[in-house]
Each structure stands twice: as structure tokens, then as C-alpha cells.
């Protein structure tokens, strides 16, 4: 049985929020890509990924996120991240993701910062 993600999309101010429920692993790829492409089709150019602090995230899930960031980069979209535990903030920083997507302490902080970005 493969894990599934439930991803809800919400537009707030000038950004699109993708709220990700469930563990983030290699099996998250179709769910994350579908949500990202759906937001892109709707014209999103600022995307805030909202993780669940309790979720298990592994290297396969981080690789999926890198693929999303690569696609966003091609389209000149700004991507932010929030909802991570301190441990996964450290991991994302270790891998280098934070050079390309800022991590925010809360949704409100992310929205505020992204509204004034670019």
C-alpha cells in the first residue's frame, strides 16, 4: 500500500498556498506535481508550501520538492516554505534548499514576505 497526500490549494493575497497533509516521500510526487501544476495553470507566481509539522519527510520527499523548485525556477515563480519542524528546517538548510526557497515561521509571515518580494 502506497502512502497518499492530501493537498489543498488556497489563494491568499498575492500567493497560492499548497497545504500538504501526510508523509512526504517519493510517493508524494504525483500529488505534489499535480497540485503545483494546477496552481501554475491558475497563474500562480508566488507559491507557499505549507507542511505539517508532524509529517515524516525523507530524502525521496526532499527530491520531489527539489523537482518542484526546478520547475518553479524555469517559470520564474517564487516559492516559500512553512510548517516545518526545527529538525526539518535544519535538514532543508543542510541540503541547500534554503538558497532557493525561503523558510518562514508561519503562513502569515510567509504571505507578508512574499507579498513584498519581486
Amino acid at each position: 500500500m502506497q502512502p497518499k497526500n492530501e493537498i489543498t490549494t488556497e489563494t491568499r493575497d498575492a500567493a497560492t498556498l499548497l497545504r500538504i497533509k501526510g508523509d512526504v516521500t517519493v510517493f508524494s510526487e504525483p500529488f505534489l506535481k499535480e497540485a503545483y501544476l494546477g496552481a501554475t495553470r491558475q497563474g500562480a507566481n508566488r507559491i507557499l508550501l505549507v507542511f505539517d509539522k508532524e509529517s515524516y519527510i525523507n530524502s525521496g520527499g526532499i527530491a520531489v520538492l527539489i523537482q518542484i523548485l526546478a520547475e518553479a525556477r524555469k517559470r520564474s515563480q517564487v516559492v516559500g516554505i512553512t510548517g516545518l519542524s526545527e529538525h526539518f528546517k535544519k535538514i532543508f538548510n543542510m541540503v541547500g534548499i534554503t538558497k532557493f526557497a525561503k523558510i518562514y515561521g508561519s503562513v502569515e509571515e510567509g504571505l507578508s514576505a512574499m507579498a513584498s518580494a519581486g
Binding site: 500500500m1 497518499k4 508523509d23 515524516y56 526545527e86
Partner: protein, 162 residues
Amino acid sequence: MSEQETGANLSVSESRESIKILDERTLEIDLPNQFGYEQVAMECAASFAKLVGFVRERIDDLRTAVAEACLNAMEHGNKWRTDARVIVTMNFENGTFSVSVKDEGPGVVDLPEDPDIQKKLEQLEPARGLGIFLIRHLVDDVEFNKPAGEGNVLRMVLRMSY
């Protein structure tokens, strides 16, 4: 988390993993070679580390390192063979927590170099291949051994700081 979300079937009647307490300092877990069961080893290591007094931050490091080592064994060692097993042995002694993860594979030919996030974002190298990097950066020591005819063993060590 539901069983469906994790992919792990942990009900007692259908459980296919086994956990043995070899002595008060040593646990051994015999896992099926199936995605999701790495979380059994991860949670077991976290509970054991908490019991012996590790702080939350180090337990989180251990959780990720153990999960990644098990996934590495399942994918690269055992090639997702459904008849293969992953044996995880953990020991705490003299302030040192060690975890060995053994698979049945032919051996890791080349260990991956540290990832280059820029190249990954430019799609010049695969997005995957982060597991060994994470393990190396989260634990105090890591070594890869291949005992004759016995598969691969990844051994990692975390030391308790007083």
C-alpha cells in the same frame, strides 16, 4: 498517521517485522524489505535513545539517519526484493549509541558524492541521492562494511554529550 498513509501494516496479527531485546543495551529488528517499515526501525531507535537519555534534537537526527539507512538498504542493497530482509541492530554503551543496518545486497560500488543543489535544480544531476549525505551529516561517525558473503553493513554512531 493511518496505516494507509504510511504504507506500513503494523497490526500485531499481520506484523512481519520482529523486534528482539538481546540484552538491556541491545535491540535487533528484522524488517521486511518493504517501503514504510523503515519507520518501525526509526521509531524504535527514537524510543531507545529517549530511554537512555538523548535530547530531542539528537533523537530527531537519529530518526532521519536510521530511516535513510534502512531505505538505502531496501533500495540499493536489496533492490526492493520482496524476499530480502533488513536487519537493524542498535546498542547503547558508555554514552555511545550505535546502529548497524544490514542488507543482503552485493555491495555499494560507489558511494555518492555530496549533492550539488544548484546542479539538481538545473536538472544536471538527479534530484535523488540525498540519503547517504544526510546520514553523514546527522551522526558522529558512519562506516560502510561488507563482511564476506554477508551483504552490506552500514554502521553509524551518535555520542551523548554531557
